[in-house]
């Protein structure tokens, strides 16, 4: 299986298919250990053709799981306590 460890930045295109805000600069808190940081600083594991997992760099908890299947996106956000997004309207 072709799995790669990358940065949160690497998932920006995939996350951008689902969310209308810039995800890599959004702040999160990990449901597992409470660590708070920007998504761009998290770890991303991409399995080509299957999906993307964003993991906490401290405790390895899966923050965001993304899969694409038969024209639908599946988004599992159980691993994050909150996502804090800049208000683009100011």
């Amino acid at each position: 299986m072709d799995e790669q460890r990358l940065d949160g930045n690497a998932a920006a295109g995939t996350l951008g298919e689902v969310f209308s805000f810039e995800v890599t600069t959004a702040h999160y808190a990990c449901e597992g250990c409470g660590k708070a940081d920007q998504i761009g600083a998290a770890m991303v594991y991409e399995v080509r053709g299957l999906g993307t997992i964003v993991r906490c760099p401290s405790c390895d908890n899966a923050l965001i799981r993304l899969a694409h299947n038969r024209g639908r996106h599946w988004i599992d956000l159980r691993g994050i306590r909150y996502l804090q997004v800049e208000d683009a309207a100011g």
């Binding site: 920006a12 951008g16 209308s20 920007q38």
Partner: protein
């Protein structure tokens, strides 16, 4: 700014420029391109006649101030996408892409510095966009690029970097070559390690903004060494492009 989705669109290939034996720059005209920040990337998608699709991310090499978008692509022999981009694509072709993508690994002159950039191989590409941006806006932010290449011939943007350094006293470029060195080479000839980072980087108390880009093992080695030397992890941003790329 309106929320927007990142849409696929077709770019016109204006020129394909050979940078090194393995690397080419694609100069593109993208209708409706709304600009980018130095450090961002685009996703490129190829579609085969049977509908099979392959997609990879490539860093933008041009500065936001440049008239045209430039991607610089390293050819990976077993890659699905890069051999097409470096060997087949020609001026006059179209290329499907989406972007700009990623707001995290970016630098604007207003973010200040001093700036410490560490690149491994084609990991220099987004760092080059930052250097070109710095030049284009006339920024005086002190900047150092520590650039690891396998050999002298594989140094991407070598002449342009020499040129910029000659004209700009606040820009320094330090090369290290990891596999072979030309006769008379007086620079580093090893992988970047803590000792080298201590010699060429800023002191932790100078609070440099750090960007590290390259293969995953390169990025993790450099970032860990910097944090070990006392640099603030929050000021060390990384962009791993994986072990295999594509």
């Amino acid at each position: 700014m309106q929320p927007r989705r990142i849409l696929w669109r077709l770019a016109d290939v204006i020129e394909v420029v050979a940078e090194t034996p393995r690397t080419k720059s694609l100069v593109l005209e993208v209708p409706g391109w709304e600009g980018h920040k130095a450090g961002q990337h685009v996703d490129v998608r190829l579609t085969a006649p049977d509908g099979y699709r392959a997609q990879r991310s490539y860093s933008i090499a041009s500065s936001p101030e440049d008239e045209r978008l430039m991607l610089t692509v390293d050819r990976l022999d077993d890659g699905e996408v890069s051999p097409y981009l470096t060997d087949v694509l020609m001026a006059g072709d179209m290329l499907e892409l989406r972007g700009p993508i990623g707001g995290y690994f970016t630098w604007e002159a207003a973010d200040g510095g001093p700036l410490f950039l560490a690149g491994g191989g084609s990991g220099v590409v987004p760092l080059m966009a930052m250097i070109r941006h710095r030049v284009a806006v006339g920024s005086a932010v002190p900047a150092r690029l520590l650039y690891s290449s396998r050999s002298y011939e594989e140094i991407i943007f070598r002449e342009e970097l020499e040129d910029l350094v000659a004209r700009d006293g606040s820009l320094e470029v330090i090369h290290t070559l990891t596999r072979s060195t030309p006769e008379g080479w007086s620079g580093y000839r090893k992988r970047i390690d803590a000792e080298m980072l201590e010699e060429v980087g800023w002191l932790p108390k100078e609070r440099s903004l750090v960007f590290v880009c390259g293969p995953t093992s390169f990025v993790e080695g450099v970032a860990d060494a910097l944090v070990g030397l006392g640099h603030d992890p929050a000021r060390v941003k990384t962009e791993r492009f994986g072990a295999t790329g594509g």
